[in-house]
Amino acid sequence: MKRQNKLNLDVSLIKQARAKARIIAHDMQEFINQYTTTTIERTICRLLGIDGVSKEGIPLPNIVVSNIEVDIGAAVFLGNAIIQTGFNPQEIAEKIAQKKLDLKKLPMGDINGIKKTIISLANEGAEKIRANREIRTKLIQTYGDKEGPLLYVIVATGNIYEDIIQANSAARKGADIIAVIRSTGQSLMDYVPYGATTQGFGGTYATQENFRLMRKALDEVGGELGKYIRLCNYCSGLCMPEIAAMGALERLDVMLNDALYGILFRDINMQRTIIDQHFSRMINGYSGVIINTGEDNYIKTVDAVEQGFTVLTSQLMNEQFALLAGIPEEQMGIGHAFEMDPSIRNGFLYELAQAQLSREIFPNAPLKYMPPTRYMTGDIFMGCVQNALFNIITKLTDQRICLLGMLTEAIHTPFMSDRAIAIDIAQYIFNNLHSISEELSFKPDGIINQRATQTLQKADELLSIIKEQGLFQTLENGTFAGIKRSKNGGKGLEGVYRKGNIYLNPFIEIFMERGVA
């Protein structure tokens, strides 16, 4: 996509801000590189083929990782065990669960042999992901991909089977992306539940079986409709890379992935989740998943007019973190949102400025634009109109992923009919305003342009500060969403380990050198 230039932005200022974000991310990367976490190690288990739960219901990856020295890592322990026992990773995990095997008690063999063994196994694991990626590419080629905004709707019944019914209905009505919302609190669980589940609250547990069931359902309905329906889930939280891996194995297409979200809104320890994020993004990148970042959440909490620039600041950092994990721009579903108090005079123009700003600064990214939520009320009729204005800006600024607003946003997770109403409205607008972004231009130096320029300037200033003090310090100061978090507070720090000398994660190399872009 060609970079649009409707806002008369100062291109050198964009460059400058981006350069600062790059430094921030690179500084953080040095920190990240030195650590691993329990969930990263569990992810390695999963990618090496370990799945299932123990008799007591504990996931085998957790059982394995409880049985290793984390600073040495699961790969080394498993490689060693394979060599020593001749079992495959799944068998090893089961034996550990049955208390028939203790990894720590096995004598540690030659590290080079271990590495060879494990790398070749890792390549097999990666191959499955690559195969999934190819299936997706093929299917999209066969059906042809849609132009314009993709209609993204959520399902959140708590029951995967009801979710499937809801998703089916939505797909037939025209949805392009189905996101299964997680049960509230899952992000705080330091393991991933197992199997098909029917009892979530405000969402459905993210499990590999649930992923599989929904993927299958969407492939079926997509087949009938002659189009590829994308599936989305969430990998922020205490299990970022594990869920990313599950998504890769079950061919998810879009995943919410943002350490900052976990830090701010889930009180997850910042060191832990920043480290997890890196590996999870590598997986997302390799599997061709579009990530979605969570900047929308800031302005769900603090004022969008005042704090709009923090969104851009965070987007720029998220872009750099993604690049460092090997995610190409085409997979960067950078997030932003329509969250201004509707009583503001000219609020629409400010929104337009913000949305266009994201569009122009990230010209190749499949931006994810979130609908009004905070200022939605029980007035469902007004709600339809708030959502309509959001849809109009989506179209006017060529957003790629359009999360449809629900008229009942302030009331409940969507009913089937709420979703259908939203889809009908969006389709009406996108068709009726089809060429609008080519038709309209903005007044030079008008309200829209001024607002955009101002936001860019403020973001650049904030990036300077963050570059000085570092991202951790910034988070301690409460710069984003007005929420202060401490470097050693929050959940999950106990799962962070400094990598030992012989530590190995065989997937890093595979994922980073995949040669896809």
């Binding site: 089977y161 089916n168 997770t413 969507p414 089937m416």
Partner: protein, 263 residues
Amino acid sequence: MGKHIRKMKEIGFFGKFDLKRIKPYGDSINDGKIQISFTLPLPNTNRATIAAKRLSKKMGLKDIDIVFQKSLESDFTFFIVYGVLVHSVDVSKVAMVSHQSKSMNMEEIDEFIREHLRRKVIVLGATTGTDSHTVGIDAIMSMKGYHGHHGLERYEMIETYNLGSQVLNEEFVRKAINLNADVLLVSQTVTQKGVHVKNLSNLVELLEAEGIRDKVVLICGGARISKELAKELGYDAGFGSNTVAEDVATFFVKELVQREKMD
């Protein structure tokens, strides 16, 4: 029936789904969720809120959630309510008839007339009384028709007379007698304060007074007209929104043939 629903049923998921006890559906089978809105002639105070809740309860709602209420300045209050409906209905004995009409198409209808009636059918139409909405009757009768379906004027075996709007019932009946019409089509759009009921009933009375009620197929139509209402008012049929000429013609040609056989 969708593939998935079928599968859900197979795996017993729909244990609770029962044609004998159909309930509204929000996001889970039988959750009973519905939405209501109404205005009460009370100022926006606690008393209005209580009235709204009691009224919702009388309707059969539980878990009543008044999600929105606003003053309509100053002695009225508007409410939006969500809740769970305790009622269910039994439709196990209702046959499932698709809305996609089983109507014949234009050629079939012409052929049907040629074969069974062997003469042209004379159709007289109008929007009667003070109603001046002609788009509906034109949709049925004019060449152009509606949504890509030609109107009756286009049919070879149908002779049509469209009197337009604001036609007095007396004039309409006179014309029907003069033309010896087989079918009368009456359109009524304005329904406020029951004006259409009055007008449609009056036409039946006039036709009976003239002794020709049984000689014609009498049909009414309009956005707020239902089959039930039409029957009640003494019409042979009634057609609502999204009717096309084929629907009406299929009905009246079959009816004419039926009557011919009876004679």
